[in-house]
């Protein structure tokens, strides 16, 4: 597949992601925040596509935008929003927040300055068509242990959630 108008799409998707991320924290209505978050996640999926990682993009859409965010919305809608609206949006933690933002920003700047040297030289071009297969081979090959640990963790979380929910019935 030949890429079309790459710089345009890159800046467009980045702006979309950043803009919606900003909306997430500024929207007064929690549902609007969640919707902005979905937009952000979709923008991210587009960025993954541009990185020649279609599988990750697909999973991003399916799991984050289609699955997890629906649950988010679910919870937000069941919660009484009227009170949330009355609450002060920016609480007194803004100092700590600023601090965290500065540290994170410093980290980013540092990474940018040191440049490519920080990353392993993995940028051998992966053939687009076999992308999915390679992810599969990596997950079930060298990273098998991490993969299994993650799935076990999720299983525990599921069981925990069921137990907690059952108590209330």
């Amino acid at each position: 597949m030949t890429p079309v108008a790459t710089p345009f799409f890159f800046y467009f998707l980045s702006a979309l992601t950043l803009g919606s991320a900003f909306l997430v924290i500024t929207c007064k209505n929690a549902v609007h925040s969640a919707l902005a978050l979905i937009l952000g996640l979709l923008g991210q999926a587009g960025l993954y596509l541009m990185l020649y990682a279609p599988f990750v993009a697909g999973v991003q859409i399916m799991l984050y935008a289609g699955g997890i965010m629906v649950l988010f919305l679910f919870v937000i809608m069941l919660v009484n929003l009227d009170r949330a609206l009355k609450e002060e949006q920016f609480s007194r933690q803004w100092l700590a927040g600023c601090l965290a933002a500065i540290i994170l920003g410093a980290l980013f700047v540092g990474v940018l300055m040191r440049g490519k040297a920080l990353f392993p030289a993995s940028s051998e071009q992966i053939a687009e068509a076999s992308n999915t297969q390679q992810i599969g081979e990596l997950l079930y090959g060298p990273y098998m242990f991490a993969f299994e640990i993650a799935s076990l963790l999720l299983l525990v979380a599921i069981i925990g959630a069921v137990v907690m929910a059952k108590k209330r019935i």
Binding site: V4, N29, V31, I38, I61, A65, G67, V70, Q133
Partner: protein, 416 residues
Amino acid sequence: MLDALTSYLSSDTTPGQAGNVLWALIYILIVFGGVSVAVMAMNWLERKALAHFQIRLGPMRVGPHGLLQPIADAIKLLTKEDIIPERADRLVFWIAPLIILCASFAVYVVIPFGPTHAITDLNIGILFMLGVSSLSVLGVVMAGWASNSHYPLIGSLRSSAQMISYEVAMGMAVVSAILMTSLNRSGTGTLSMIGIVEAQQQQQIWYLFKFFPLGFLAFVVFAIAMVAETNRAPFDLPEAESELTAGFHTEYSGLRWSLFMLGEYAAMIAVSSIAVTLWLGGWLRPFPNALTGATWDLVFSLVPGFSFLALAAVAWIGVIRMPKDPYFRVQTLGLAAFGLLLGLIGLVLFAPPVRERIQDIFWFTAKVAFFMYMYIWYRATFPRYRFDQLMRVGWKVLLPISLGVLIGTAVVGVVF
């Protein structure tokens, strides 16, 4: 310019893969236009078929046998007052139908109507389809919430719970079909929609019959889950008319409501296309493995033309049976013209160059049409499930079956 147009025709890839923007646009227009027409036809067909199931006639007034009814409906919906409830969340209320519409139309980007008749062929095709169609849940949830009313809220909660639950079983069934592709001679599997059909061609078997009964079971699970996924009877709880008036779109009217309907029918066609692609051999004609040879190819390539001629004949029988009263003259003429149109299409389909390129689309459409008819049939026959029963079917019946099929497919695939 003209060269660019015609040179593509002789190539054998999809416009998306060829990077041919112009043809991609043309394909998008054709596909989306075709889907819209199909939705209208489906609308008419559903009303007619359902009516005949129920010893009624259905629409008879607008055009001969109500053929123009969908157009009349469309005009009515477009000119209807568009009401937004006063305390609704206007922005979300406005976006929700668009999301559903976009989600169900975006899926068509990867649906292969033939080896080259797709807008594009993504190598994550099936993943893309599942992902994008799962986005329509968002629209449902938003519509229910934004209406600021109890019935839509309950409807949307039901709907999203239902869609998420059935997506799991559906995904498992799809994965078991994808596993089958990896067992072809080349040794690697594929997620591409075209690749899946080609794998079936190579293995010379529809996945419906592969590893019998595993493929069949997976297909059945998918066929049930897809009805639930599109909120159709007997899983139409979100829109359960007798309980929740109209579920999540209770407060919608006019254009916005019609967008929901358009989205729903488009989604029905889309999931049926997935089922056809994965299990029924996509665009492949019946018996490509057994009945081979030039003669059989010719015979099967003539079927589209003949079936259109048969439709034309039915229309002409209708013309003959019309009352001779002058009051019915316009209707009779209309039906005659319609029959003539069908006949002409049939004749065009006999022309060799058209025949070659069109027959894939025909077989694909015919298989999808079978599913569409099943949808109507379900609706006429079954009572509605209750919510807890629906969840039970989803989680306790379909999910275990599909998991078992998945494991079984893997085991059988490795062993044999």
